[in-house]
């Protein structure tokens, strides 16, 4: 590899590539997960395998991590789970990225989906398998020591990095064993009962520093945008401003006459400019005049759709609908209700705004039949497939080098920009770095869909919630529907549905996506009912809804943490809400104040209680939840994408506002509710509760409801006047 890889670049794969001597364990990747194998098994198996754990005679243990690191810490926490069960000395564990690279490792990319790290679920997916793998390695180490000492394996113990014989007091380091030992062709089976008891954990549940952090304080962490190759040229792109459009013609001569410009390239939905430097490419992009073929989103007016179209679709009894959840007889519950409630809510489009504008680097082999790509991607397998398809290649002709990601949030799972880099590099006949400008990243963004929602509830004569209907209207299929179910409330009669209205606007997962607006609506609505019944919102949930024990527990914790019923200082109020995501539950409280002259809401304190099962890395998890709270507040108070004439109206951070330091709560408290269960996802449980908690606090402060997210100053002032 000739890439400029900086000295501090960490992790590298030097140790694996150098690897001779020591003990090597391989991993098989299948649709049923991962299994540890000996090298002998790996070499005879029909599936392709890659080395996974290596113990060197110097005692260093190298563990590969399926490498999508975007700040959530899974690069550290996944190897740590394995290290725990093998009883490795963590200070002697090196972590290297598992390359999505068939040529080097025979990494089974067609099954790679099983290895892709989808942020919040990484630990949840691999927890058990990594523990079993670690225990197998430990068993092999013990067997080798037992043979050397001539004792029974069962009589031996391990301490971090050592096999110990309690009878004789002898100790043998893992490195020594690696010097003489062997990995049996058939690895010993390990039963769940042989795993450590959680009280014996030395690493899991303790906080160890994240391994990616040192390189992120001195500029050496390598993102795709930092890769430099010999002879590399630069490209940037302009895409159809109306999503779904394609270029017809453009002023190529003008572009080519500009400083440093090498040429232009037609992309499926845009035009790329290649130049000798990025500023030259960016200047030429600015001068491009492109005639576009009509795009799918032609003429789309997002505010009109939200104000009018969705309301009509909701009112239309013959509108197409998808039932998302249904039980009991909602109609009957409403017919026999003592009291019914109905409310409507809206939310705008949201943009990921990951800090690193999308980019990738591509280089073809001299023969032009193989391409290397450097990309920060949440799904290397998908990306590789997409690149191959764009080029008419087989996946084997694509080598993907994973890089750190400057934020993902669901945007980086498609390989779209990496495919563009490949197409451009093929035309350029040189290595190319493609960098979208921030303006392009936003204009050609893929958004969290906007939504209109109508909720209705039926209460029986005892005031118990017996009927529930929720209809969400908008574009986006599953993206519209996540988080809309309410299993934690167990209302006996429910009907939950979505009505789709296609607009041709590019949409995408976005940190918990549908949860953001669905939970806003659900938890605001519950709060409205509680207020109408003259009840405390927590008491209402406990007494009038069949709340699940897990949900009750996180509410109780949030109540205790925030001293929920305590008086707040003058001008402050608190609101509470709950959400579920990836198996985790989180209840949170926000304490706000309001500047009535400007309409600016300020959140001073946030408390959140999380049930995420066993928390592997509490400190990293806490940081992740804090990040979610800030991301949530940002979407609740500032972020909105609007489209007019099918074109995105915002263009950069001056008009797409995100949370800044001055906006952040002075205090954020995160607590994990102890529960003896496997880990569940934590990366996206931090943000969905925020919207309703803020809106509910606003109600307590003002007696007014905020029904349209984000709660911009203009909307706040309007609500105050209502």
């Amino acid at each position: 590899m000739n890439a400029t890889v900086k000295p501090g670049f960490n992790p590298s794969r030097r140790r694996f590539l150098a690897g001779a001597g020591g003990l090597t364990f391989c991993v098989a990747i299948g649709s049923d997960g991962i299994h540890l194998l000996s090298e002998a098994q790996a070499n005879t198996a029909s599936r392709t395998m890659s080395a996974w754990v290596r113990i060197a005679p110097d005692g260093m243990v190298t563990i590969l991590s399926a490498g999508a690191e975007m700040g959530q810490g899974s690069m550290t926490s996944l190897p740590l789970i394995l290290a725990e069960e093998m009883d490795a000395d963590w200070s002697k564990v090196a972590i290297e990225w598992a390359p999505a690279d068939a040529a080097v490792y025979g990494y089974a990319m067609n099954n790679g989906r099983a290895m892709a790290i989808v942020g919040s679920r990484a630990v949840m997916l691999y927890f058990n398998q990594l523990r079993l793998a670690g225990a197998q390695v430990r068993k092999v180490l013990i067997a080798n020591a037992a043979e050397k000492w001539g004792v029974a394996p069962a009589s031996l113990r391990t301490e971090p990095g050592f096999v110990v014989d309690p009878a004789s007091g002898q100790r043998m380091s893992y490195g020594e064993i690696a010097g003489f030992g062997a990995v049996p062709a058939e690895l010993p089976a390990v039963d769940k009962s042989e795993l450590k008891d959680r009280r014996q954990f030395r690493l899991i549940g303790k906080s160890v520093p994240r391994r990616d952090i040192p390189a992120k304080v001195n500029g050496t962490a390598q993102y795709a945008i930092d890769v430099r190759l010999p002879g590399m040229v630069y490209a940037t792109a302009r895409h159809s401003p109306v999503h779904g459009g394609a270029p017809e013609s453009w002023n190529e001569d003008k572009a080519k006459s500009m400083r440093g410009v090498i040429g232009t390239v037609r992309l499926p939905d845009g035009v790329a400019v290649i130049a000798d430097s990025l500023p030259h490419a960016m200047a030429a992009r600015g001068a491009l005049e492109v005639t576009w073929k009509e795009g799918r989103a032609e003429g789309f007016d997002s505010e009109k759709a939200l104000a009018e179209t969705y309301v009509q679709v909701h009112a239309d009894p013959s509108a197409k609908r998808r039932t998302l959840d249904s039980k009991g007889d909602a109609q009957a519950a409403f017919a026999s209700a003592a009291k019914t409630y109905k409310s409507e809510y809206r939310s705008d489009y949201g943009y990921h705004a990951q800090m690193e504008p999308l980019n990738a680097v591509a280089r073809f082999s001299a023969a032009g039949d193989h391409v290397e790509i450097w990309e920060g991607t949440q799904a290397p397998d998908v990306s590789r497939g997409r690149i191959a398809k764009a080029l008419g290649f087989k996946p084997g002709q694509v080598t993907l080098h994973q890089c750190y990601m400057g934020g993902g949030f669901g945007r980086r799972t498609l390989g779209d920009y990496a495919s563009e880099a490949a197409l451009i590099a093929r035309e350029a006949r040189r290595p190319v770095k493609l960098v979208w400008t921030r303006e392009e990243d936003m204009a050609h963004g893929m958004f969290r869909p906007q939504s209109f929602q109508c909720l209705e509830a039926a209460l029986d004569p005892d005031g118990k919630v017996t009927g529930w209907t929720h209809c969400v209207v908008g574009d986006g299929g599953v993206l519209l529907a996540t988080g809309i179910k309410i299993p934690y409330y167990q209302v006996p009669h429910q009907h939950i549905e979505a009505r789709g209205v296609p607009h041709g606007v590019r949409l995408k997962h976005w940190r918990a996506v549908g949860h953001v607006f669905n939970v806003f609506a659900i938890e605001s609505f519950v709060d409205e009912m509680a207020a109408a019944q003259g009840m405390d919102p927590v008491d209402f949930r406990f007494q009038r809804m069949s709340i699940s024990p897990r949900a009750r527990a996180v509410f109780e914790k949030a109540v205790q943490m925030s001293d929920w019923k305590a008086r707040r200082p003058e001008g402050r109020a608190v609101g509470i809400s709950i959400s579920e995501r990836s198996g985790s539950l989180g209840a949170g409280v926000a304490e706000i104040s309001l500047d009535r002259a400007t309409g600016r809401i300020r959140v001073h304190k946030a408390w959140v209680a999380i049930d995420g099962g066993l928390v592997v890395q509490p400190e990293a998890a806490r940081a992740n939840i804090e990040s979610g709270i800030v991301y949530g507040l940002s979407s609740v108070l500032h972020e909105r994408v609007t489209l007019k004439g099918g074109v995105v109206e915002q263009s950069n951070f001056h008009d797409y506002h995100v949370e800044r330091m001055a906006d952040v709560p002075e205090e954020m408290h995160v607590a994990f509710v102890e529960r003896d269960a496997a880990p569940s996802g934590l990366g996206e449980i931090g943000n969905p509760w925020v919207a309703a908690a803020v809106a509910n606090a606003f109600y307590r402060l003002t007696g007014k409801r905020l029904r349209h997210m984000p709660f911009t100053p203009a909307r706040v002032l309007e609500a105050l006047q209502a």
Binding site: L278, P357, V630
Partner: protein, 149 residues
């Protein structure tokens, strides 16, 4: 044109209006300084010019002729600047992409005001976006560096 970066003088052959950011990253290979917005709205590209924090995306390279430019790579040789140590101790970075700019912005503050109040920190840092929301840890780290020097 001569530019002095991290104590070394370089002859660079670029147009005078080239933004300093791209000279640092693509001509000199100092890729720790990041591109985030290109319009002085995010702070990812922050470096020091004669000790003052500037947005290198919006500063023509001609303007730094004869001045001292310091980037994250030149803040310390071995991550030993008190802020870098504090950043590790507080486990600040998540994706990490904004952090070179954050650290450079913070270093300029401490150089002038070794004991900033929370309010002074927030005012000084408010132009630097962290999309991962590490703001409170950044504040804690600046306070720690200020304490531990």
């Amino acid at each position: 044109m001569q530019v002095s970066v991290n104590g070394r003088s370089h002859e660079v052959n670029v147009e005078p209006d080239t933004p300093l950011l791209w000279v640092l990253r693509d001509v000199l290979g100092l890729t720790g300084t990041k591109y985030g917005c290109g319009i002085s709205a995010c702070g990812a590209c922050t470096v020091h010019v004669n000790g003052e924090p500037v947005r290198s995306c919006s500063m023509p390279v001609a303007q730094v002729e004869g001045k001292r430019v310091t980037t994250i790579e030149g803040l310390s040789r071995d991550s030993s600047h008190p802020l870098q140590k504090a950043w590790v101790a507080e486990q600040v970075p998540q994706c990490g992409y904004c952090q070179s700019g954050q650290i450079m912005q913070a270093a300029a503050l401490l150089a002038k005001n070794p004991k900033p109040s929370r309010g002074e920190i927030v005012r000084h840092m408010n132009g630097n976006i962290c999309r991962c929301g590490t703001y409170n840890r950044i504040i804690a780290s600046i306070q720690r560096a200020s304490r531990e020097g």
